[in-house]
C-alpha cells in the first residue's frame, strides 16, 4: 500500500523525470514505426499510409509484396468483406452490372507483369522543391498482376457508342472535405488486352494495402490510374471532372520555368510513365572499402521498352553500356548491372542513363513542373573509394 505522502511525491517525480526524458522519448518514438510485414520500408507517412522501398530492396525482378511501395492519398478502407463486396458497372452501358468477387473469379484470368510507379516518384529530388510526398527512388515496384480483362467486363455490360472514358471509384475513406478518389482513363486504354481488374498480386490475393479485393491495373501508366479497392466502374462521355483529374495529375503541354504555376487549360492528364533508370547500389554518399564496384539498378519506360542503360564515371563525358538482366516483360523494368574498378582511391560519381524503344532518353535535368510529376533525370550517385 503506497503512503499518501509518497503518492503525492511520486506524481511530480514521475512527470519531472518523464519531462526530462521527453526529448529522448520523442527521439525513440520517431525512430520506430511498427507495421507487421513491412519491415525496412521507408516511412514517408504513417497516416495517410505511404511507404517507400529503400535502394537495397531493388534486388529482384519481381518485388515481394512486403517490399512493394504503398501510396495512399487518404485513409485505407477500414473494413471490406470479401463476401459482401460488390463492383458495379454503369453509366453509358446497355446492361448495368453488379458483380461479386466470386463472379470475377469465374471469368477468364489474364496476367501482366507490370512496373507500377507513383507519378510523384523522385519529387524529392526536384529543385526548386514542390509540395507532396517527398519520394526519392523507391515509389516503384514490379509485380505480376492477375485478374479478368477490363474489356471482358465492359463487353458484358455493353458499352454505348458515347461511352468514351472509363471512370474508377475506389473505397478510400475520405477525410474532411477532400474530394473522393475518382479518376478516369480513355476507352482505348481500357480496351487494351493487358488492362485488368486485378485480383491477385504475385500469385496471392491483393493485400489490403494494395487494393483488396480488386483494383484496376492499367499497365505502363502512373500508379494513380490503377485505382485500389475498386467499387464502381462507370462509362462516361467525357474525362471525369474532379480534383484527381483536374488540377490533379496533369502535366504542362509546354515546358515551364521553375516556380511557374500550372495553367490547367494548357495541360494534359498524365498517362504512360517516362523513360527512367535508377542506381540502387552503391548508395549515394557511401564509402566503399574495395576498388571493385558492382553498380546495379533498374530501368523502365512505361509502355515502351528499355533499349539500353549506360553508365558514366566522367560526368557524362563518355558512356559505357550496362549489362541488362535477361528477365523482361512488356511493361516491366529491366534490372541492370555494371562492374567497375576504381583506378585509385578517391571520390567518384556514377551516372546512369536509359534509352527506350520510343527513342526517349533520360535528360540531365528533369522538366520542372509544379507537382514534381514524372521526375526522370539521369540518376547520380557519389561514392568515396578507400585505399
Amino acid at each position: 500500500m503506497i503512503s499518501r505522502r509518497n503518492f503525492l511525491i511520486g506524481i511530480p517525480a514521475s512527470v519531472g523525470a518523464a519531462g526530462a526524458l521527453h526529448p529522448l522519448i520523442t527521439w525513440a518514438a520517431d525512430q520506430s514505426v511498427y507495421v507487421p510485414g513491412d519491415e525496412g520500408m521507408i516511412v514517408r507517412s504513417a497516416r495517410f499510409f505511404d511507404l517507400e522501398m529503400p535502394p537495397e530492396f531493388f534486388d529482384s525482378w519481381l518485388t515481394p509484396v512486403p517490399h512493394f511501395f504503398v501510396r495512399n492519398h487518404m485513409h485505407e478502407p477500414s473494413m471490406i468483406e470479401a463476401d459482401t463486396w460488390q463492383l458495379t458497372i454503369g453509366g453509358e452501358v446497355e446492361k448495368p452490372l453488379t458483380l461479386g468477387l466470386a463472379d470475377l473469379k469465374k471469368m477468364a484470368s489474364h496476367s501482366v507483369t507490370n512496373t507500377l510507379e507513383c507519378a510523384g516518384n523522385g519529387r524529392g529530388f526536384q529543385q526548386p522543391h514542390v509540395p507532396g510526398v517527398q519520394w526519392q527512388k523507391g515509389a516503384v515496384g514490379t509485380a505480376r498482376f492477375s485478374g479478368p480483362r477490363l474489356r471482358d467486363l465492359l463487353e458484358r455490360a455493353g458499352v454505348k457508342p458515347n461511352g468514351k472514358h472509363v471512370m474508377f471509384h475506389g473505397l478510400d475513406e475520405v477525410p474532411g472535405k477532400v474530394p473522393p478518389f475518382i479518376r478516369s482513363i480513355p476507352i482505348e486504354k481500357a480496351n487494351d488486352s493487358d488492362t485488368l481488374i486485378a485480383l491477385q498480386m504475385n500469385g496471392a490475393p491483393l493485400s489490403k494495402h494494395h487494393g483488396f479485393p480488386a483494383r484496376a491495373l492499367v499497365p505502363g501508366w502512373i500508379g494513380a490510374a490503377s485505382c485500389k479497392w475498386l467499387s464502381e466502374i462507370k462509362m462516361l462521355e467525357k474525362e471525369f471532372d474532379g480534383n484527381f483529374m483536374k488540377p490533379g495529375y496533369r502535366y504542362p503541354n509546354h515546358p515551364l520555368k521553375p516556380g511557374d504555376p500550372l495553367n490547367v487549360d494548357d495541360s494534359h492528364p498524365l498517362t504512360a510513365l517516362n523513360v527512367k533508370s535508377i542506381i540502387a547500389a552503391p548508395v549515394d554518399g557511401s564509402t566503399m572499402k574495395s576498388k571493385m564496384l558492382h553498380v546495379h539498378g533498374a530501368a523502365w519506360a512505361g509502355e515502351a521498352e528499355i533499349v539500353k542503360v549506360e553508365i558514366s564515371t566522367d560526368d557524362g563525358g563518355t558512356w559505357q553500356p550496362a549489362r541488362l538482366d535477361r528477365e523482361q516483360a512488356k511493361y516491366a523494368w529491366r534490372l541492370w548491372s555494371y562492374a567497375w574498378k576504381a583506378p585509385k582511391p578517391g571520390d567518384y560519381t556514377f551516372l546512369s542513363r536509359a534509352t527506350d524503344s520510343q527513342g526517349r532518353v533520360q535528360p540531365a535535368t528533369a522538366d520542372w513542373n509544379p507537382s514534381g510529376y514524372l521526375y526522370n533525370a539521369i540518376d547520380q550517385v557519389k561514392v568515396h573509394v578507400e585505399a
Binding site: A13, S14, V15, V130, Q134
Partner: protein, 124 residues
C-alpha cells in the same frame, strides 16, 4: 544511485522514491508517458503556433507529411489555403501565423527530412 542523488535533487527538484512500491509507481507513470509517445509521429517544432498547427493539421494526417516539405512562403500559402478548403479548421485570424510558422520551420534550403524505417515488430 547514491552519488547521483544530490545531483538529481538539485537539478530536478525530485524526491527519489524511497521504497520499491513507490519506485514501481513512478516507473508506471514514466511508462505511461512513454506508451503515449510510442509510435506517435514527430512533434512539430516549438513555437507559439505549435499547438494550433498540430491540432488543425493532424486531424486528418500525421505530422510527417508536414515535416518533409521544403517550401517557399508563397508555396506554403497555397498549401494552407488548399488544406482549409479541404476541411482543416484554421481561424482566419491565425492564417498568416500558420503560414509564417510553416515557412520559417520548413523552408526550401533546409536539409531533407530523414524518415524512419519500419522496425521489426517487438513482442510486448
Amino acid at each position: 544511485m547514491s552519488k547521483l542523488e544530490p545531483v538529481l535533487r538539485k537539478s530536478f527538484f525530485v524526491v527519489i522514491p524511497s521504497n520499491a512500491r513507490d519506485l514501481q509507481f513512478c516507473i508506471l507513470f514514466i511508462f505511461l508517458c512513454l506508451a503515449r509517445a510510442h509510435g506517435q509521429s514527430p512533434e512539430l517544432p516549438a513555437g507559439p503556433m505549435q499547438a494550433k498547427v498540430t491540432t488543425a493539421c493532424t486531424e486528418c494526417h500525421e505530422s510527417r507529411i508536414i515535416v518533409q516539405q521544403r517550401l517557399s512562403k508563397g508555396a506554403w500559402t497555397k498549401e494552407v489555403d488548399k488544406m482549409v478548403k479541404w476541411g482543416a479548421l484554421v481561424d482566419p485570424a491565425d492564417r498568416d501565423s500558420f503560414i509564417d510558422y510553416l515557412s520559417v520551420n520548413f523552408p526550401p534550403d533546409k536539409a531533407p527530412e530523414l524518415m524512419p524505417r519500419v522496425a521489426s515488430a517487438k513482442k510486448h
